[in-house]
Every structure is written in structure tokens, then in C-alpha cells.
Amino acid sequence: MDDLYYTTQQQDVLNVEINSHVFLEGPFKSGKTSVGLFRMKEMAAHADPTHQILVLTPQRSLSIPYRTCMQAPNFPAGVLPNVTTLAGLARQLIRLSWPQITEQGGFRKPDQLPTFLSMETAQYFLKQICQPLLAKGYFVEMHIDQARLFSQILDTMNKAALVGYPLSETAQRLKDAWNGEAIRQSHYDQSQECALAFRSFCLQNNLLDFSLQVEIFRNCLARDSVLKRNFFQSYQYLIADNLEEDVPVLHDLLLSLQGEIPSMLFIKDSHAGFRSFLGADPTSADRLKHICPHSFEFSEQFDISAPIHAFQFSLSNCIIQKDTSHISPEVTRAYSLRSVQFYPQMIVDVCQTIQQLIHDELAGPEDIAVLSPYLPDSLKFSLSQKLIGMNIPFLSSRPSRSLAEEPITHAVLTFAKAAHPHWNLEITQQELRQAIMAILPHCDLIRASLLAQNTLVEKNKLNHYYDIPPFTRERITDMLGNAFDAVVDWINEYQKEDTLPLDIFLSRFFGELFSQSGFKLHQDVDNAVLLTALIQSIRDFRMMFSTLAEEQQQDISKMYIETLQTGLLPSAHTITASENDHAVTIAPAFTFLMKNQTVKYQFWLDIGNIGWWERLDQPLTHPYVLSRNWPRDKRWMDAQEFQANQNALARLVAGLLDRCSEHVYLYVAGLNQAGMSQSSPLLSAMQLFLKRSYGMEQHE
């Protein structure tokens, strides 16, 4: 079936009879997923419509090896495995079984279809629900912006669903563990009140945010054995990989399937659990071992560089303050520690070193990752400007980016306002000037300003270029003026017909005008991608909110634009940079870990930044207290916080170094971006490591 070489340990797993349950555990790069892939091919050779394969991973990026394997010509022909996540499975069940589950799920409109909410649309509705409560003074003592407030309330809802306790218990769980000012306890109550009001609103209107999807999925399967049997009956085989990054509710489900799916392979990474802030629970995953007659543990790691491994071992010991009896001399080949006084110096040095690696060491850009705890816009901008200047391709990965930030969004919406004067939305001269520059080729700031100043009238009406006095027209030039007039003509023609929804208007505007020859968007593929996302976002918004808009007698398109301007962008689509196999990765450290990708060189920025150690400040939620492993009668003290951060840092450092094959560059900046001096446990650990290394050298 496969030409790959398998070790004796791997072979032992593969020899297990296919119709049985297997638990496989081991560190990163010990060959677990290779076993999973072989097993999947073996299963596929036996699969048919009544004996299908289900592959589950905690998130999509972790399923890439399985998807790639399925795309190989030697993958057995036949019915394809269903590769999905808990969220995907939940949505599949709800979509297929909606007519049966509406009443038992508590939905008040059983004769209407469900609407699945994204994080952004959930925030939009939550805001509507919370406004009266905020007006009453809820959370007034907390200095927190609304987007963070709503995302934390949603996080508590998600935690309840993923860990598997009633939403109404959240506040009590947090209060039981709280050990600070009393006011926080009332904030927990207020947060829960908002969450329950939002839940009730969702049930009233058939809206399903992520937490409700998981809760419906969990409850329906637990209560209705027939529904569960029907849903899973076509699956004969199951593979669940990276179980340590998944949540207890998924583990519960897998436990309950032991009698229904005859062949299950569970794979767990022994030293991971990086997604604990999202509910990942490696301890819960261990329960699955007990239902497997065959359990295996791999220990050997392949393709691990000895110096990096030695550095990982020593640095991890320094983090957890464990004595290291011996530091291997080869460890010096694993790292470079660079100290600079100012933050911008670090950026310059990082980029110059990358350039040297590419030119002198012949490294590919794809062999390099630049990592930091977070990736703020300023850091991303500085790095990207330098790399662009050096002509080095890079891929900056952040979870999502707002469409509202894109110049093309502003441009098309400016013209949309002009085409729909009844919205009564004002266009500023600056907006029009930017919009003109975005759509007319070779239009500089001065001519765009002249056009904007001379054509914008009555708040949002556009006059023709040919109505401008000849002297000014000459300064603008006919070429630009005629193109501008084509826009005005198109808008005038459009206004003679019935008004269209904003998404359709933009589609027409793009197809019939802006993408035609003579305009800047003609064959501009990058902006076409952005506009596709924008139009889809508006369409989703229209489908979701049209009833609400009718009830409030509002124009849905105007409602979209106003929502966009408040910063709560509905359906903000994740815009992933186009896949580039030959690019330097710039990413937050946790995002990089979830790509499961090894690079030759890593750059750890500003290791004195406390962000490497400290978890995000989330006053209304708590990843550890709201987990299954936290005893309800205990309080969360500073000692626990310290220990949790230490463990997380040790895990993070080990995970990153597992994914580095040659060298890691660690940067210490004397002053951070804000000009403050700083220190962090990662920096302290590194200092201890240096002290120990120096001691060893002296001793020798």
C-alpha cells in the first residue's frame, strides 16, 4: 500500500486488526500522524457508502496531512473520508436534523430555518441585547472596550458548551474561585445575565452562535439515541488526531461512540495542549485510553537536531527552575542571543539576518519563521516594510482582518452612498478623493482633490466633470474626467431602476464598470478578492438581518454600512493571505504551533516581553477555572496563576523548539515599543541558562 519505511513501533500499531480501537501517544515528530495516514488509506480500501471514514481534528490546519494524503493519486478510489472538526460535525447534524431537533432544542420558531452566527454576527446581536443593560450601569467599573467585553461574554458561553456544564453555572464557578475585589463578583453575575439574555434571544429567533451549536449537538446526541445512531450509522471507521488540543465534549462523544463505530484510532501528542485557552484538555483526552484494547506510546523523535534538542532540554529546565546537571557543549550551535537597546534596531537586525540566511546560507524564505507572542499592526507593518524593501516574500498570519480597513471597501461604499441618496449618508470630500484615487488609474492626490471639491454637492450627490469650469477641467485632464463621468452616468442610469440590495449593486458596479478596461480594477486580482469577501459579507448580512431590518423599518444596506462604521463588522471574513509556499512566516507563536510546520530558523522577538509568559487579561472569563480539572471548592490564587503561566511557557518553548531544525535567534530589546524597560520569565530563564552554561565552561 505504501513505499514508506515504518519503524518496528509503527509497524506494531499497523499490525493491529482494523476493526478495533487503538490509542497512540507520543511526542511531536515521533511518527504518529504517519501511522494515522497509513491507517486512513487502509480504511479507505475497505470503505463504501455504508462504511465511511470520519477524520476529526481540533482545527482545520491540523487536518492538512489527511487532506493532502487524500489528494494523492495512490489514495484508494471510492467514497472519500469526511475530514472535519467538532464545529463542522455539530453544524452538519443541525443542518440535517433541523426539522426533528427544533422543539427539543427549545427553538420558538420550529417552522423556520436556522441561522448560523459567526463570531462577528454573534457580537452584533449580543450588543443589541446588552445595550439596555449597559445603559443601566452594568460593567461600569470596568475599563474595557465593548468588543473585548462581548468577546469575553461569548467566551464564557463557549466554555460552558465545550466543557459541558450549564451556562447558568458560569458565574458561580467564577465566583467560587475568585480571590480579589468584591466588585468582580457582580461583574460575573452581570456577564452571565447578558449571556442568558442572548441565549434566550437566539432560541427565540432560531439563531445559533458557536456555543449553542455545540450545546444542541451535545444534548441531541445524549437524549436521542435514534438520532445519534442515524447520524453515525454510515461510519465504520474513525480517526481523531491531536486529541490533546480538543475539548472535553468531543472526548465525551468519542467515548460514547465506542460501541457504534467499530474501528477508532486516537492520536495524542504527549507534550502539547497549546489550545488550553480555547478549552483544550489533554487530561480529558487520556480517558479514551481506557476504551482501547490496544495502547501504544512512541518515544523516539525523528529528524530532531541534537543541539536544538539539548537547548530545549536545558532551557525548559531553567523555566521550571529544575537543576540541570549537564549542559551539552553542542547547545551553543542551537541559538544566538542578540541584545539591542531599541525596538526598531531589533526589526532591522532580524530582517538583515533573514537576508543573510537567504543569500549566504541559501535558506529558502519558507525555512524561516518570525515569532512573537502577539502580532500587533505596528510590528507587522515594520517587519513587512523592511522585507518588501529587501524583496523577500513573507506570509503574515493573523486569525482575521477587518474588511473595513481596506481602501477598496471605502471606495466602493462611497459610490454606493452616492447611488442611494435616500440613505441620507454623507460623503466627505476626503472620502470621495480616496475613492477616486482607488478606482481611476494614474490619478494623483491633487487631481483627485480637484475632482472631489468640484463634483460633490448636497452631502452625497455627484456632478459631472464636464460641468466644472474649463480652467479647472484642464488641470484634471479629460482622461480622468471622462472616466469619472462614466461613473456618474452609470449611477444616474442605476437610479432610474428599482433599488437593488447593496451586495447586488456592488456586484453590478464592479462587473459593469470598475472592472472594465479604463478603470484601475480592470484585471486587478487582489482587489477583486477583497471585493468578493465584502460582497459575500453584505449578502450574509442581508440574509441574516432582513427580518430584523423590516421589523425596525430600516434599510438593510444602510444598516450594514452603519454597522461597519461602528467597528462591529458583521460576517468579517477571514482573509487569509494567498498560500505561498516560498515565504517567511510572520506569526504569533501559538498560531505557528497550530500549523504543525517545522522550519530551519526561528526568530523569537523581544523575549523580555511579558506576553511570552502571561496569559491575556480576560477579567470576565478564565480558561483554568472554567475547565473540568478545576476543583469547585478551590480559589485561584497567585501561586496557581504563576504555576499555570510557567507550565504554559515551558510547553510553548518546547513546542517551538520541536518545530525548529537548525537555529533559533532570540532577541532582547532593552526598551519595548512604548520605550519602557522590561523583563519576563522567558528572559530570566535565558539568563539562568547562560549562567549555567558559563558555570559549566568554567568548571570544565
Binding site: 493519486p73 489514495f75 467514497v79 475530514v83 426539522p99 426533528q100 430555518l113 462587473g511 484585471q523 477583486a528
Partner: protein, 273 residues
């Protein structure tokens, strides 16, 4: 054609290649998003697509043990309700041993991967298999047999099924493709399969896939039949016109296949949390 590791042929991509090689190039090689309108009248076209996809969803719920009465309660559109009733009547008349809806199959032919998503795959007691494809049409007349016979879907669907190994080997003579029209429930179009047909289809498919993979990037010309451009989102990119044509007023045979439109299996939904 460049080596695209995630590329797989489907009946839709091969049909695009038949109709316009440039469209194939832009859609599947360049993977270019181009947010222009496909057809007018815009809202009517949107409603037509929504009805089609809701019909597919209802049928899928039905084959996942959904109660027909409860499913019907979710239907608000009169046309769709009529289609649904037609489907229920049709379904009662059938003898299904096992039925799988919206199921994805894959096979490979000399290193080229070919996938097909079936609206419904039914196995009868005698072991024979029928592939059903629901054809909801925007025009007032039913798509004719000759048009369907020439469609790549008619070649690809049974071929992929017979090319599948699995635990049971499938004989071509036991396979049939049925196009069923909710608007014309009593006029399904049936295409029985055979070993000879399979050999012929294999030759055509292989030739086509070889031709595509041999081509360099500048060898995907625009179609000569410019009528097609009126229903193509890339028309402004290709400088082939401005406005989308009216779907209901044209004599051009069009087939907006809903099951294939959303077939990109790598676009499975994941909620960012």
C-alpha cells in the same frame, strides 16, 4: 498546466473546459475570485438558486430520516412546495435498499484524480446502483436528452462510481444515472451504463485530462461562442461585455448545477473560535 497539488478534476471543471478554456484557466488554475453578476434579473436569479439549494437540503434531510411533514413545514415558497410533493411521490414509488445523499467519490485515471458528488446514490436489492441528480431548471422547458448526453457529468458520474474499489466491486452494467426534474417529475432522463460505454468514456476523459495537463499557461483560449460570456462572471476580465444577460429570455442551454457549485470540499466550514 502547472502542477497544483490540490487540483482534482470534476464534471464541473471538465464542463467549463468544454465551454471555455479561459474560464477553466481562471477558475481552477488561477482560482480567481471575480465578484461580477452571473445572470440577470438579479433577485430572481438569486431566488432560483436559493430554491434549488433548499430543495437539495430538504431531500438530504429526508434521507437522514427526517419526517416529511416537518420538512414541509419549513418550506415557504409555492414552487418549492410543489417540487417537494413531486419528490415525495416519486420517492414512494422507488425501492431503495440503501441510500446515501450528497456523497463524494474519487477515483484516479493514470495519475489524474477525478471526483464526483452525488445528490443521491441508491443501492437496490439486486446490488445494482443508481445515481440520482436533481435538476432544478430556471427555464420553462425541460433540459433535453441530447444536451444532457453531451454533458461531462453524464460521463464522469458513472465512471467515477465504477472506478471505485471499496469493499464491493461495481459492474458497469449494474449502474444507472438518472436526471430527475422536480418540475417534470414524470419525465426523468435515464442513462444506463455498460462496460463498452465505460471504455469509451474513459478514453474521452483521459484524452481531455491529458490535453489539459499538457497545456502551457497561455494555451487556454477564450471561447468562440461569445453568447456564453453573457452568463460568465469573468466577462469584464476578458473584455467580453458589460451586463449579465437575462436567464429567462435566452435560448442558450444553461445548467447551473447546484450540487457542483458548492462542491469545493476544501472549503469546509470552520468557525473561528
Amino acid at each position: 498546466m502547472p502542477n497544483l497539488p490540490d487540483f482534482r478534476f470534476s464534471s464541473q471543471s471538465l464542463q467549463d473546459f468544454e465551454e471555455c478554456q479561459q474560464r477553466f484557466f481562471l477558475r481552477y488554475i488561477q482560482k480567481m475570485d471575480w465578484p461580477a453578476e452571473e445572470s440577470s434579473p438579479y433577485l430572481a436569479f438569486e431566488q432560483f438558486r436559493q430554491k434549488g439549494s433548499q430543495f437539495h437540503a430538504c431531500v438530504e434531510q429526508y434521507f437522514h430520516h427526517g419526517d416529511p411533514e416537518k420538512i414541509e413545514r419549513l418550506i415557504k415558497d409555492d414552487d418549492l412546495r410543489l417540487w417537494w410533493k413531486n419528490f415525495l411521490r416519486f420517492s414512494m414509488e422507488q425501492q431503495f435498499t440503501t441510500a446515501s445523499s450528497e456523497i463524494l467519490f474519487q477515483t484516479s485515471l493514470q495519475g489524474h484524480i477525478l471526483i464526483a458528488k452525488y445528490d443521491l446514490l441508491v443501492q437496490q436489492e439486486d446490488g445494482s446502483m443508481t445515481i440520482f441528480d436533481w435538476k432544478t431548471s430556471a427555464s420553462l422547458k425541460r433540459t433535453d436528452r441530447e444536451f444532457l448526453k453531451k454533458k461531462m457529468q453524464t460521463l464522469v458520474y458513472p465512471y467515477v462510481l465504477c472506478g471505485s474499489a471499496g469493499s464491493q466491486s461495481i459492474q458497469p452494467a449494474q449502474v444507472k444515472l438518472v436526471y430527475w426534474f422536480p418540475q417534470y417529475p414524470d419525465q426523468p432522463e435515464q442513462f444506463p451504463y455498460s462496460s463498452i460505454q465505460m471504455q469509451q468514456d474513459e478514453r474521452v476523459l483521459l484524452e481531455r485530462m491529458e490535453e489539459i495537463t499538457r497545456k502551457t499557461l497561455d494555451e487556454f483560449p477564450k471561447t468562440e461562442d461569445e453568447k456564453r460570456c453573457r452568463y460568465c462572471v469573468y466577462r469584464s476580465y476578458c473584455e467580453r461585455g458589460k451586463r449579465a444577460a437575462n436567464l429567462f429570455e435566452d435560448d442558450l442551454e444553461l445548467d447551473f448545477d447546484l450540487s457542483e457549485l458548492d462542491m469545493d470540499i476544501d472549503q469546509a466550514l470552520e468557525i473561528p473560535y
